[in-house]
Point group: C2
Chain length 191, copies 2
Amino acid sequence: MSTVDFEQIAQYAKIFSDLTPKREALIAEAGIKIMPHLSAVTEKFYVNLLKVPKAAPFIEGKIDYLKKTHLMWLQQVFTGEYDQAYVEMMYRVGYVHVQVDLPVEFMSGGITLITNELIIIVSELYADEPEKSFEILGAINAAFGFSLLVMQASYQASVSEVLNRFLSITGVSKVLFDNLAAAYDKKAANI
Amino acid sequence: MSTVDFEQIAQYAKIFSDLTPKREALIAEAGIKIMPHLSAVTEKFYVNLLKVPKAAPFIEGKIDYLKKTHLMWLQQVFTGEYDQAYVEMMYRVGYVHVQVDLPVEFMSGGITLITNELIIIVSELYADEPEKSFEILGAINAAFGFSLLVMQASYQASVSEVLNRFLSITGVSKVLFDNLAAAYDKKAANI
């Protein structure tokens, strides 16, 4: 992971989520009002996650620890600072998720559940300023989309590594592997 | 793919995105007003995507076709019907994305860009009903989160298949592979 260009990944993910400096500043501003409500977001997140049977093995026996790191991460998002240290942290989270065999769609589901809650919170906190609330929600969507992108870019890199490593270990070329796989598929399908 | 239990995947993704029947009905209702604005969402989506250098090879030479299928999909989302046919279609999209080597984070980036636009559209269409607009945005977040989950669950299954196929072809067990990989990593790191 030491050869990863985090500056480049940050740029890539910011463009892809349209996370602009204006949105970053808006998150930092709104973060002051939203911060006290984040522990409720974390609590609700785990209430929802526990309804997903496939998620149970990843939570059991460590829910207090997970809640703690989850809340710390949310608080970090709402500082509005997405510097290299933040990108490196998100990239590492994606890598750790591969190591524990977490399905990649869990990260998307997680962000969806968090955003569901934040929409409600922002609508209540900014009930008198609907226009501003929509701008904040746009910024929140971009910031969490950005974080998800970095996590999953890391995930993608780790998964690709598995096959590449196998090819290196065995000395099999990618072309030979593809041919073997095609032949194997035919045999498996009894063609 | 014929052995995939789409009913089970639908249930899993609905719980994980908290896509409730109430939210589905709300999307269908709002869909009538939002529908005429979806072609603008697709146009803006590709304007944004073209800013991402890594995305260019996946777009070049086929942008008109891509825009057409993109818009058709958005229109389908806004019918609010997420039945087995829809889940099967989304699952197939995930599978196709693996076949063309699309990085998994592209799907998350795509949903982020689309949602950015929909927040603006909903805020304008429902300017006189802010409370309702927040409910609609919650439903939109859940519906796109649901779609992303299904696509990525398919992606995950396809990627896992690659390694399993290699193990089947070579007759190597997963334990032996893990041991070989660990030994190889040590050698590569000159430990």
